[in-house]
């Protein structure tokens, strides 16, 4: 029982990341009809946003190390500490949460310029060409990051205050053995909040209503004198922000390197397919579902029966779904079913 509960928790935070990325993918597909292979790169850019903010905050200069008196020793001390003392240290400690604030406008800008600069020329081209051009873009972004930050993962720790583990076991009246890192809990709740915000935005605002109408019947909305393309562009920017935020928050869990985006992209695409292309609810549900399935598959008990199942479970599920129910779990009937 405890083990099962723990595995579900384990799966949920990874599932949260899948859901956030897949939501953006499926939004782009549902609105603009674009298959965006560069979406993983946006996730990575978000993570590197956290890395850069951290690097910016810890800009240091060499000062004399007073604690060593035998000889002249020097150490790096961040400017922020020199200027503001303890407050500066705290600010550095909170680098990741601060990057969220920076990431929102930045990712929006990147998303909008990506759509206006490249994607809009590909509305009318085939899916194959869309895949290929965004694949090329993903390589370009990835290599630029590699050129600037190197090929090694860069640790970006979460604030000290949440670095420990939460004793959820005792809090919920289960075994005390169930402990869970605070940051992963935060990630989970963060992703739920972001997902809820996106859904609320699409469900309860006029803008969202137009977007939903446009997803359903684009030409009709156009005929009513609404510039759907413009709205969809903003939706693409929104999708970029969501992917970027997922990346920022994931940086403390997995130190980002340049190919983190590609790794997540392939899985998120599978998530979208399982959920149903263009279905928002499907993407979210499938994201969490596959996250949990994956964490169950990596249990030792399961692995001893089916060796290697943890590596392939997600792909296996996708293959089965595509063959049995091609429109995905919650896909609309008739959308991309052949």
């Amino acid at each position: 029982m405890d083990a099962i509960f723990l595995q579900i928790l384990n799966g949920l935070d990874k599932g949260g990341a899948y859901a956030l990325i897949a939501l953006g993918l499926t939004l782009a597909f549902g609105t603009l009809g674009i298959v965006n292979f560069a979406h993983g790169a946006l996730f990575m850019l978000g993570a590197f946003c956290a890395v850069s903010i951290q690097a910016l905050l810890t800009l240091s200069k060499k000062v004399k190390d007073e604690s060593i008196t035998f000889f002249d020793a020097y150490k790096e001390q961040p400017y922020l500490e020199i200027w503001w003392g303890d407050i500066g240290t705290t600010i550095i400690d909170y680098a990741v949460p601060i990057s969220i604030l920076a990431a929102i406008p930045l990712m929006l800008l990147i998303g909008l310029s990506m759509e206006r600069g490249l994607i809009r020329f590909f509305y009318k081209r085939t899916h194959a060409e869309q895949i290929l051009v965004t694949f090329g873009l993903a390589i370009v972004i990835q290599e630029l990051i590699k050129a600037n930050f190197g090929a090694n993962p860069i640790p970006t720790p979460a604030p000290d205050i949440v670095s420990g583990s939460a004793k959820i076991g005792s809090a919920l009246g289960l075994s005390d053995a169930i402990v869970y890192p605070w940051w992963r809990l935060i990630y989970l709740s963060f992703s739920v909040v972001v997902l809820a915000a996106v859904f609320a935005f699409l469900q309860f605002t006029t803008f969202g209503m137009v977007v939903r109408a446009g997803m359903h019947d684009r030409d009709m909305v156009n005929l009513m004198g609404i510039d759907v393309e413009r709205k969809f562009t903003i939706v693409f920017g929104l999708a970029a922000v969501v992917a970027g935020l997922a990346g920022v928050m994931y940086a403390p869990i997995l130190p980002p390197d340049y190919h983190i985006g590609m790794d997540f992209l392939v899985l998120s695409f599978v998530v979208v397919v399982v959920g149903g292309m263009g279905s928002l609810g499907g993407a979210v549900a499938a994201g969490f579902l596959l996250g949990i399935l994956q964490s169950f598959a990596s249990m030792n008990e399961v692995k001893s029966i089916f060796p290697g199942i943890d590596q392939i479970i997600i792909y296996l599920v996708a293959v089965i779904i595509l063959l049995v129910r091609p429109r995905g779990l919650m896909g609309r009937k008739g959308v991309m079913e052949d």
Binding site: L137, E143, K146, V266, G308, M336
Partner: protein
């Protein structure tokens, strides 16, 4: 299914192609590509791209999983070296057979869907094979280290024929001729010519016409009474076998196999080769493969020092500026150039170099483009 007679035009195309390929060491020498390692790569990746084009170019199905077949071919070839003999012929045969079998399994499932779903299915299968090769299948694939020859491999046939065990690691041979350097290149080149000939025959056969029909309108093909599925599976298996052939040739020229050959970025590379040269044309993929491998070779060799020498004629300030701008694109950053090139080709020239040449041709020589056969109509 194939027309029996080889027409004169086919014969002349193949003869010209063979002449060009076999004289590569001579005419590529002035541009610094006339050494066997690189020439072998030209031939191997040319084959890979020709095979890929049979699927993507003729039927329009975008597979993102062909690297898996390349990997299977490599593994099968190395196992043949380890267990049976160092002769390359069985290795190549096993590579083709196993990858063909593997392609049949994957194709049988993946071809139930078309369009983007097909791409994602093949991608999923390729990633599955890659992950398994790294983890559970370690006894077969030797995991991260990669499969290599060792001194205590059984090599049944070789030990039967030869009494004394050779010292050190044996090298791959074709009836006594060592398959490294130029002999290795000529072996690959002969297979490339054979592969090109087969692809030429396929594209002009009724079977090839069916594939092209599937590309332009699969639904209509079905309405006219064609069961397109067996044709698609055959095309998929053939192109998988080409990939396996290329993979086994890689093992022939350098007898080791690693899982990184199966990664999906490797599949992306062959897509790029095919598109750069010209999708749906016969010679395009070979051209694209050669160009990419050639520029990879040149660009990766550059470093900052070489760049400074190259731009030394510029004034100092400007020189430093140019070097700073260019340096991320060369050396380690060759993939960046590749990505940029990829985007430019897809945005401006989806038909690749062949289409570009046709455009120039039409522009300046006012010939009708419809007369050209085998070109991409998009």
């Amino acid at each position: 299914m194939l027309p029996k007679k080889i027409t004169d035009s086919e014969l002349s195309i193949v003869l010209i192609f063979s002449a060009v390929v076999l004289t590569m060491p001579i005419w590529l020498a002035p541009i610094g590509a006339g050494y066997p390692d690189l020439l072998q790569k030209f031939a191997i990746f040319g084959l890979f791209a020709i095979g890929y084009n049979i699927l993507f170019g003729m039927t329009g199905y975008l597979s993102f999983g062909h690297a898996a077949f390349l990997g299977v071919g490599s593994y099968a070839a190395v196992w043949s070296f380890k267990l049976l003999t160092m002769n390359v012929l069985p290795a190549v045969v096993f590579g083709v057979l196993f990858s063909g079998l593997f392609a049949f399994l994957i194709g049988y499932v993946s071809l139930r869907r078309s369009g983007i779903y097909f791409s994602i299915l093949t991608l999923a299968f390729a990633q599955m094979s890659y992950n398994l090769a790294y983890s559970v299948l370690t006894p077969i694939t030797n995991g991260e280290t990669g499969l290599q020859l060792t001194n205590h491999d059984p090599r049944i046939i070789d030990t039967m024929l030869l009494d004394q065990a050779p010292e050190g690691l044996p090298s791959t041979v074709l009836f006594g001729v060592k398959m490294s350097g130029y002999p290795g290149f000529y072996f690959c080149a002969l297979i490339l010519i054979l592969g090109f000939f087969i692809a030429l025959r396929i594209s002009r056969s009724p079977f090839g016409l069916v594939l092209k029909g599937i590309k332009s309108n699969q639904t209509r093909m079905k309405f006219t009474g064609f069961n397109t599925r067996p044709y698609m599976i055959t095309a998929f298996v053939i192109s998988g076998m080409y990939a396996g052939l290329a993979g086994s040739l890689m093992a022939v020229t350098d007898p080791l196999a690693g899982a990184e050959r199966m990664q999906w970025t490797a599949s992306g590379e062959v897509v790029l080769m095919t598109i750069l040269g010209g999708v749906g044309t016969l010679i395009g993929p070979v051209l694209g493969a050669g160009l990419i491998k050639y520029f990879e070779n040149i660009f990766s060799a550059f470093n900052d020092k070489a760049l400074h020498e190259l731009f030394a004629f510029l004034p100092d300030g400007l020189e430093n500026f140019v070097v700073t701008v260019v340096s991320p694109f060369v050396g380690e950053g060759w993939h960046l150039t590749l990505g940029v090139l990829f985007m430019i080709i897809i945005i401006f020239l989806p038909g690749g170099i062949i289409q570009g040449m046709e455009k120039i041709n039409n522009r300046f020589f006012k010939r009708s483009s419809s007369a050209k056969s085998g070109s991409n109509e998009s």
